[in-house]
């Protein structure tokens, strides 16, 4: 018998040529930028009344240091912006032809320029306050952002939180009542997350312990929150409005030095504790989810619960904890609706913000920073609609009011890039 060699040690073979996998060229970005650029040049630029100026106030009337308002010639400014926008669009076309991606910051810059052109056109011959617009956007974004954070916490662990709406509502209710009774806004601020937490306990009980369909439980909890608060509102709050539903409002606290930054200082750093809590929350959540042991385990549970289980992570305990934490976060955001902004509790005052928060979370791709950005975008759209309806623009204000919802539909339908949530989101984990 001839000599045979026993197994040679594993030898990687020369890597064969990879089958060319050419990704489909998407003309979406160049198409949208080119169309938007043309619109900016022709409608906002050439179409603006010649000789008119647009005036933007850069300080609040109450500010100690008054900046002189920004006044620009409407037509000329927009023609310049329109040309710049078209140049950027041409660049995206070139990038697409070369199969490269256009950098994100350039697209963000494009968006800002375009929005500014729109503003210049809308207030041509009139005036509006830029700082008011910005601050209003931020304030409208606060409950959306907290709601979205609540969603991120739940969904990163694999539980869909449709009940954000209800959590905002009970948070708002609890904050108003407790603050009224105790005459202390901070007591109200503490009560809000507790209310959200209680609703979260129900969500966790049914979705994690009993593995009930998460969407159905969420919707039921929303209905429960609406019913409960509406009943208590008309049966208890209305007759005793003075004692139970006249909470004190949170007062803004200015942060020394930072508030002196021109334009942005007063907008960002002369705010209430809730807004500051938002800044802290976004940082804590980002680090928590992506840099800590806790976050790694939460993400593992949300992506592949079996894998987490096989390395000894108690899947349902992690989910239970995250669901109540997320619900408490959303409840905390609800406090802003009453003691942070409006004052009194009103029936169904959350008004669909929970669903918009959910959309913000998706648009923000399940990240805290993304969710905050999306919440700011929705806040801006809402504020713009109300500002422009006051100023009076060529665009009917009803269309402007539709804007946030149109954005939401587009976001949820996945039009904004490839949206990929946690793989096990919405799937109950039941052991073999």
């Amino acid at each position: 018998m001839s000599t045979v060699t026993a197994t040679p040690p594993a030898q990687p073979l020369a890597a064969p040529e990879r089958g060319v996998v050419a990704p489909k060229v998407s003309w979406r970005v160049p198409g949208i930028t080119a169309a938007a650029g043309l619109l900016a040049l022709l409608a906002f630029g050439v179409g603006a009344p010649s000789g008119a100026h647009s005036r933007f106030d850069l300080s609040f009337r109450t500010d100690a240091v008054q900046l002189s308002p920004l006044v620009v010639p409407s037509q000329v400014t927009n023609i310049v912006i329109g040309v710049v926008c078209l140049l950027i669009a041409a660049f995206t076309v070139a990038q697409t032809v070369r199969r490269r991606r256009t950098p994100m910051w350039l697209l963000a810059g494009f968006g800002l320029l375009w929005v500014f052109a729109f503003l210049v056109w809308a207030v041509a011959g009139k005036q509006t306050s830029l700082v008011d617009l910005l601050q209003g956007s931020l304030l409208l974004a606060v409950p959306l952002a907290f709601g979205a954070f609540g969603g991120v916490l739940c969904e990163r662990s694999g539980v869909v939180n449709i009940a954000i709406e209800g959590q905002l509502l009970v948070g708002a209710f609890a904050a108003a009542v407790v603050a009224s009774v105790t005459h202390n806004v901070y007591a109200g601020l503490l009560a809000a997350p507790v209310a959200g937490y209680l609703l979260g306990l129900l969500l966790a009980l049914f979705t994690v312990r009993y593995a009930v369909n998460q969407i159905i439980v969420g919707v039921v909890l929303n209905v429960l929150a609406v019913g409960l608060t509406s009943f208590l509102f008309s049966a208890v709050l209305k007759p005793n409005s003075a004692r139970l539903n006249t909470p004190p409002l949170m007062q803004p606290i200015a942060i020394p030095l930072l508030e002196k930054i021109p334009v942005l200082g007063p907008v960002l750093f002369r705010q209430t504790v809730i807004v500051y809590a938002l800044y802290i929350a976004v940082a804590v959540l980002t680090i928590g989810l992506f840099r800590t042991r806790w976050g790694l385990r939460v993400r593992a549970v949300g992506e592949h619960p079996e894998a987490a289980d096989t390395v000894g992570i108690p899947v349902n305990k992690v989910r239970w904890r995250n669901v109540v934490m997320g619900s408490a976060t959303a409840g905390f955001g609800g406090a802003f609706l009453t003691i942070g902004y409006i004052g009194q509790f009103g029936q169904e005052m959350s008004g669909g913000r929970g669903y918009i928060a959910l959309a913000a979370m998706i648009l923000g791709r399940w990240t805290p920073f993304g969710s905050l950005g999306a919440a700011l975008l929705f806040g801006f759209a809402t504020k713009l609609a109300s500002v422009l309806s006051v100023v009076g623009t060529p665009v009917p204000s009803q269309f402007m009011l539709m804007l946030p919802y149109v954005l939401t539909v587009l976001a949820v339908a996945g039009f904004v890039g490839r949206v990929r949530g946690p793989a096990a989101d919405g799937v109950p984990y039941v052991k073999g």
């Binding site: 045979v4 990879r18 089958g19 592949h304």
Partner: protein, 533 residues
């Protein structure tokens, strides 16, 4: 570490998956658990790993009873497991996957990724793995993912490593590399429990073989025992390992496929300009490692996924047709996943047997269905295909895997066909049913039907194919004769062209092939390399 299972019993409802199983794994030993699909091997290991709680029985570690309530206890006790379906988070990096569950931190719960990277590099160097700690799991080929799983277990100091059907996703060459890794681990003192139903691999690597059949240990076998003996133990009777088939009598070409392209949602071409011909009366097998476009190719033929290019079956273009039109043109299709795509589990056997024939004149009665015809059809098929069922009215989900598959095949063959396509026709099917299904497929060929088989099992490809088309990353690497040796097919499955594969296979035969040629090599092919006289 010595591991002992004593009288383990696990029931799922009325089904006894493990019936008083005893097993002893000695230190530094490769212990093969051999058994058919559904024999209860994986259940047993899931009990050992704490994923299932046994109804009775005991686990002993170093002769002391151990309490294993969950995977955490198992890991603590030094038991590691590489699951058949990898337990890796696709979006994590290698380092994150390895550290998950026992993360080292730099205070305040902040992850110490550098420590994890070091650990990955260290273990990867020790076993010669070449795994990059910052690579993302979903970008890695399955063979590398499996190594990540092994690193994961070793990072936790596993003394006993359970490998559950580890070769199901590998080419023969990758299997060979895995066998080498198993020997290295054994040399380093790790015991290995190797779960498989493939006789060849068991003979190549096992020190001890325990055979399990229908939830019971039927005995121990010697790795030197002939394959037919092992197969008989596994199945409970003597089995034919090869299908008897006459040489093909190909007729005229019936199916022309030209430049077929299927793109997935991300725009990547999963089937990339595939062309082939298929004649009446021949079986063409599409071989390849799972995920190289074979499944999509089969689905494209049935128009389940949109495709471009051309597919002409007996003068009719199939690209752009609807599924209904393709079926009506006489294409029989056995899908890859019978429980999802082949059957409606809650429906009865009789209903499943006419699932795509409800509009057929035979089963129509006015506006409704002819229930009597459906019932008599079911009785005929049950007899013809030897479907073991309590009757036509039993829900299909209650049948065993093999009998479910017989229902699907029986349905597809119960009308005149111009083309028969079967994707993984015998996956998860017992040996008895495999024999039966293979004989039916060959009979269909002999009736003059062109047959296309998609299979990731090389044994099945060799058993059935008259010609083999090997696919790699969406392309056909080559179309070769049905009797091409496994080693050559294995290399082609990794993208090596036919001539080069032939040359390489002749120079470097795999261990399994060597053993097949010369059984005495099994004893000699130990951890130490060298010349064997």
């Amino acid at each position: 570490m010595k591991l002992e299972l004593r009288g383990i019993t696990k029931r799922f409802g009325p089904l006894v998956a493990n019936d008083r199983i005893d097993l002893v794994v000695e230190p530094g030993q490769i212990h093969a658990l051999l058994g058919e699909n559904g024999a209860g091997k994986s259940t047993l290991m899931n009990v050992l790993f704490g994923l299932y709680e046994p109804d009775s029985g005991q686990i002993l570690i170093d002769d002391k009873p151990a309490k294993i309530k969950g995977p955490a206890d198992a890991l603590e006790a030094g038991i590691g497991m590489v699951h058949q379906h990898f337990m890796l988070v696709p979006v994590f990096t290698v380092a994150e996957s390895v550290m998950l569950g026992h993360e080292s931190t730099r205070g305040a719960g902040l992850l110490d990724l550098d420590a994890a990277r070091r650990q990955v590099r260290e273990l990867s160097a020790r076993f010669g793995f070449d795994v990059e700690p910052d690579a993302v799991i979903e970008d890695l080929p399955v063979g590398v993912q499996q190594r990540v799983e092994i690193i994961k277990a070793m990072a936790r100091d596993a003394k006993v490593l359970i490998l559950d059907e580890p070769t199901a996703v590998l080419t023969p060459q990758e299997t060979d590399e895995l066998i080498e890794i198993m020997r290295q681990l054994r040399a380093a003192g790790t015991s290995i429990v190797f779960i498989t139903h493939k006789l060849r691999e068991v003979k190549a690597v096992a020190d001890v073989i325990t055979v399990i059949r229908r939830g019971r240990v039927v005995g121990q076998a010697d790795p030197g025992a002939p394959e037919s003996e092992l197969a008989a133990m596994m199945v409970g009777r003597s089995v034919m390992l090869q299908v008897d088939k006459a040489p093909a009598q190909p007729g005229e070409v019936a199916l022309f496929v030209r430049d077929l392209v299927v793109t997935d949602r991300t725009g990547a071409r999963v089937v990339d300009h595939v062309s082939f011909d298929l004649a009446r009366g021949e079986i063409l097998a599409i071989a390849g490692v799972q995920g190289n476009g074979q499944s999509e190719l089969a689905e494209a033929i049935l128009a389940l996924v949109p495709a471009t290019g051309s597919m002409v079956l007996e003068g009719r273009e199939l690209v752009g047709s609807s599924v209904r039109e393709v079926l009506d043109h006489g294409v029989g299709f056995v899908p890859e996943d019978r429980s999802h795509d082949g059957l409606v589990g809650e429906f009865t056997v009789a209903e499943n047997l006419v699932l795509d024939l409800f509009a057929d004149a035979r089963f129509r009665g006015g506006l409704g269905m002819d229930l009597a015809a459906i019932k008599s059809n079911a009785e005929a098929r049950i007899a013809e295909f030897d479907i073991r069922t309590r009757g036509p009215e039993q829900p299909a989900e209650r049948l065993s895997g093999g009998n479910q598959q017989k229902v699907v095949v029986a349905r597809e063959m119960s009308r005149p066909l111009r083309l028969f396509v079967a994707s993984q026709p015998t996956r998860g099917v017992d040996v008895g049913s495999i024999e039966f299904l293979h004989r039916r497929i060959v009979a269909e060929r002999d009736n003059g039907t062109p047959v296309l088989i998609v299979s990731t099992e090389l044994d099945e490809v060799s058993a059935l194919a008259d010609r083999v088309a090997v696919m790699f990353r969406g392309r056909i690497v080559g179309i070769v004769p049905g009797d091409t040796p496994r080693d050559v097919l294995g290399l082609m499955m990794a993208g090596v062209p036919y001539e080069e594969a032939q040359r390489h296979a002749a120079e470097h035969p795999t261990t399994e092939t060597l053993i097949e040629q010369d059984p005495s090599a099994a004893a000699a092919a130990g951890p130490e390399e060298g010349e064997v006289p």
